[in-house]
C-alpha cells in the first residue's frame, strides 16, 4: 500500500458517503490497519461503527452515523474526522493537540494530509476534551482534502 510508504492516505481508499449522508454530516475514518483498539465503537451513541473483532478497522454505517464527533475526541490514533457539506461549504471536525489554540471565528490556515496549506478555514466551534475537537468551515471542494489546521500566533 502506498500509504505505508508515504504516511498519506489516498482518498480512493476511503469509503465515501453519498450526498445525502454528507449533507447530514458523518464520521470519516482514516484508520486502515488492524490495530487491537475499539474506543470509537464503544463511544458511538448510535452503534454506527461496525467492528466484529477488536483488530478490525472501524467500518462506519453512514445511515446510522449522526456526526456527533464523539469518536473524533476519543480515537487514540487521531484518525477520525466528521465532515458535513452544506451548499458550497464544508464543516470539518478534527482532532487538535497543538498550540496555540485558535479562537472561535478566527481565520486559520487549512492544511491537507501532507501539511500543505490549501486555503483558509474559519473556526466555527471548539470542544475541549481529552483531545480538543475543532470544527472549521472550508470550501466544499476541500471537504475530503483538509485534515489539519495551522494557527498563527
Amino acid at each position: 500500500m502506498k500509504y505505508e510508504k508515504t504516511g498519506v492516505i489516498d482518498i480512493s481508499q476511503l469509503k465515501m458517503p453519498n450526498e445525502k449522508q454528507l449533507k447530514k454530516g458523518v464520521a470519516i475514518t482514516e484508520c486502515l490497519q488492524p490495530i487491537p483498539c475499539n474506543p470509537c465503537k464503544e463511544v458511538c451513541p448510535t452503534d454506527a461503527i461496525k467492528m466484529e473483532n477488536i483488530n478490525d478497522p472501524p467500518d462506519i454505517d453512514y445511515d446510522k452515523c449522526i456526526g456527533c464527533a464523539l469518536c473524533v475526541e476519543v480515537c487514540p490514533g487521531l484518525a477520525m474526522f466528521v465532515v458535513r457539506v452544506r451548499d458550497d461549504k464544508a464543516m470539518i471536525s478534527l482532532p487538535y493537540e497543538m498550540l496555540p489554540m485558535p479562537e472561535r471565528g478566527q481565520i486559520v490556515k487549512a492544511l491537507d494530509r501532507e501539511g500543505k496549506i490549501v486555503g483558509n478555514a474559519v473556526v466555527k466551534a471548539i470542544k475541549h476534551g481529552r483531545t480538543n475537537v475543532i470544527t472549521i468551515e472550508v470550501d466544499k471542494n476541500l471537504a475530503m482534502v483538509v485534515r489539519n489546521i495551522k494557527v498563527e500566533k
Binding site: P34, N38, P39, E42, I54, C75, G77, L99, N148
Partner: protein, 479 residues
Amino acid sequence: MRIEEHPILKFERERKINFYFNGIKMEAYEGETIASALHANGIKVLSHSRKGRARGFFCGIGKCSSCLMTVNGTPNVRTCITMVKDGMIVEGDKYDLPESFPYRKPIKEKIDVSMAIVGAGPAGLAAAIESAENGIDAILIDENPRLGGQLIKQTHKFFGSSREGAGKRGIEIAKELEEEATKKAKILLNTSVIGYYDKGYHFLVAANQMDGILYEIKAKKIIFSTGAQENMLVFEGNDLPGVYGAGGVQTLTNVYGVKPGNSGVIIGAGNVGLILSYQLLQAGVDVKAIVEAMPKIGGYFVHAAKVRRNGVPIYTRHTIKEAYGKDRVEGAKIVALDEKWNTIEGSEKDIKCDFIAVSVGLTPSTRLVQQTGAKIKFISAAGGWVALHNEYMETTKDGIYVAGDASNIEEASTAIIEGKIASLHASNSLKKVHGYDKKMKEYMKRLEELRSGIFGERAKFAKNKIYEEYYEIRENRRY
C-alpha cells in the same frame, strides 16, 4: 530552551536553586536532573574524551555512559539520572581518579524480603501492585529518581480496548500505577542494583551512589523488569553532542520540559520515531525530517499520518550518512538507498538542524538477569539477548523472573500484564493465592488479546521461540 507552554503537559517547576558547572554559577530547579539543568542553560557539551572530542548525553535514562561527570568530587556520576542539588559542584573534564578516594564509608542496610523487583517501569510497578494484592511483601528498586520508567514521557493516547482504559495517555497510566505502588510497596529510588549472588538464596547488592548507601537484599523471588536500551547507529559524527537516543529526547522534553534544540532530524520511522516527532511538534520544536532505511514506514499509519499532516516529511529508503558540526550538531547529511542497501550517489541531502534523535530499535537490558545464571539466548525477533522463560515469566533459574521489555521488546500495555503474571506466579509459589487460576487465566487472555492482529505477530513469534527454548532446557535438565 525551557518549554513554557505545552498542549498536554504542565511543568510545575519547584524551587529555584544554583549549581556550579566548571566553576560557573548556573540556575536550576529542584526536581530536575543535572543533565537537563545543563541543557536548560544551553550546555550540551558535558565533557570531552581524552582525545578531545566533545561529549554529550545520549540515552538520558542511565543506560549508556556518555553523560558521566564529576559531582561534588565523586567521579563517574550519571548526570542524566542524578538530581541537581543546591550548591552542587559539577565538573566535566576530570579524567583522573582522585589520589585519595573521597568516598565515605557506605552506610550498609540489610533487607530481607519475599520479592525483589528490579526496575520500576510499567512491568515493575504492575508486579509490585500485584504482589501487594496477594499479601506478599515486595521491594521495588529503580536507579532513576522517579517511578514509571519510560511511561512518564508518553503523552500520546494508548490503543486498546475501552474496558481496559484505552484512550488514556501514557502519563495518566503511569500516574495511576505510581500512586497505587507507592501506597502498597516499599520503594528504593536512585538505587542501582549492581550485582546478584547465589548464596543458596537470592542475594542482590544495590547502591545509592549520591547518598552513599549500600543495600544487601536477600530475596526469595526476584523479578527483573529492567527495560531496554536504545540501539545506536553507525554514522560519521554519531558521538557529537546533540545526537540523542529517542528516549533521551523524550526525557528532556516531556519530563523536564527542556527542548533538545530548535530543529531536529529523526532517524527511524517506527512507532517510537513517529511518536517522538509528534511530541516534539507539541513542544514547539521544528521536526525537519524523519529518515527510514526500510522501504516502508515501520510504525502505525495513524501515527505517521499525524506527523505528515503537520508537514513533516518521511524519507523511506534513506539513511543518515553524517552528523556534522563543531562540538555539537549543526546539520545532518542524509542519503537515499537502493534495493541492495547501497547509497545512491548524488542523492545526498543536507539538512540544517541542531539535534538528531536516533530511534532504530531497542535492546533488552539483560546484564543483571544474566548474573543469576539464567540461560540467556540471542533471539533476534525479541531484540537481542534475552533470558529464556516460560509463559509465567520464570527463567531457567528457579525463582528468577523477567517481565516487560527486558524479556522481549514490546510495549507498555503488555509489560504491565507480564509484570502481573510474573508477580502472581511468584506470589503463588510462596503462598497459595486465593483465586489464582481464574486470575492467571484472565491475565493470559488479556495478553493474547493485546498480541492479536498483524502488529502483534513479531512479539508472538519471539515469545513462542523463547518458551520453546526454555522447555527444551528444562526437559534436558530432568534427565
